[in-house]
Symmetry: C2
Subunit: 218 residues, 2 copies
């Protein structure tokens, strides 16, 4: 029993070398797939290693425990959120009036965030359910293609509002948390909360109203 080692020429899990080569990456990608389908609770060490074609304990060479893998998947998911926001901002990039441009850019942060939440609820929950602190909210591993995290994209948009004169400087402090609260709360209500049965057009209406509220209430 216990096939000693690997019979030459055999392959384990679709791979022909003892080493995997890029297991860390593969585990995170598998974790992202699991999170997409079932949210953070579905990110299991054994399931991820199974997908990577590797024995369960191999994961422990790259992650201290399940929590660490979940952290990595969380970072990757936040990167996707950042990309969604950047895509939404790219749609409104061609505004001539700088004040209007700053406003649209700011609104795009919220709408991009919420559109991603609706399109990829599992990933979205994984991105923000797993506990994060303020330092890691600005770490490079959570950035999109522009190299900025969702949180940084928000602060950037707020700073620009101030620069352009659309937001009084005395109201700038902590404004990111006010805006984030409203948008994140709506996302939760729409995904897992009492509004999860809403149709897309009604959801879109609520999204606009919440962003309106933030713009007006800041």
């Amino acid at each position: 029993m216990t096939t000693i080692g690997i019979p030459p020429g055999a392959n384990i899990g679709g791979r022909d070398t003892y080493r995997h080569g890029d297991l860390s990456r593969a585990l995170v990608e598998a974790g992202v797939e699991l999170a997409r389908a079932g949210g953070p609770a579905a990110v299991a060490l054994r399931a991820a290693t199974r997908r990577a074609g590797v024995s369960p304990n191999a994961a422990y060479r790259h992650f201290a425990d399940r929590r660490a893998l979940l952290e990595a998947v969380c970072s990757a998911s936040q990167g996707r959120v950042a990309e969604a926001i950047e895509a939404e901002q790219a749609l409104v990039a061609d505004a001539t009036d700088p004040v209007a441009a700053a406003r649209l850019r700011f609104r795009a942060v919220g709408t991009g965030y919420l559109h991603f939440a609706l399109a990829e609820p599992g990933l979205f929950q994984t991105a923000f359910t797993a506990s994060t602190d303020l330092e890691s909210a600005t770490s490079g591993s959570r950035a999109g293609t522009s190299g900025r995290t969702p949180f940084q994209l928000l602060t950037d948009a707020l700073d620009r509002l101030v620069t352009v004169g659309a937001l009084p400087a005395e109201r700038r402090a902590e404004a990111e948390f006010l805006a984030w609260s409203a948008v994140h709360g709506l996302a939760m209500l729409l995904i897992t909360g009492p509004l999860r049965a809403l149709g897309p057009e009604q959801a879109e209406g609520l999204i606009r109203r919440v962003v309106d509220m933030v713009e007006q209430g800041l």
Copy 2:
């Protein structure tokens, strides 16, 4: 081998009758304790039955599966939230001006909600992380001592704002979701999100600012 039956005079798990008597209640209470300490993920069937001094499968006579028990614990937790809101409203009940009273009553919904979230993060998450729909958000099992759920307390306060003239009727529609979004989002940021390391006084400042934003942005 299976001790056949119960030797007369023996007692299993601190109880001397074969029947438990009020197991359903006991399981929910045990679940609430688990949720308080560890959030929704900690609400385990086996742990709850263990606390109730009963075999694991006994739970299945009262709940279809773990999800069902979690639903019950969720309802109980929402009841606690409702009580917290009612307590906060009781603090401001003595306002003479009806407009000011309606405003304070409305604000108390948000501050009570957020104070509960800070005081009992595990229960709070359990109350609102477990998926709920709109019908169950108004079911009696989730009510506080006044017989109203947190959601109903919010709609009540908004209705009163309209009655008193503090909120234009044309802005009333869906206002509960806007307010709820902002407050719920801040709760998440404060409990599991990037703001969870904030001190109490700073958290209190943010709470006031978010409620200000809602009052102004509705």
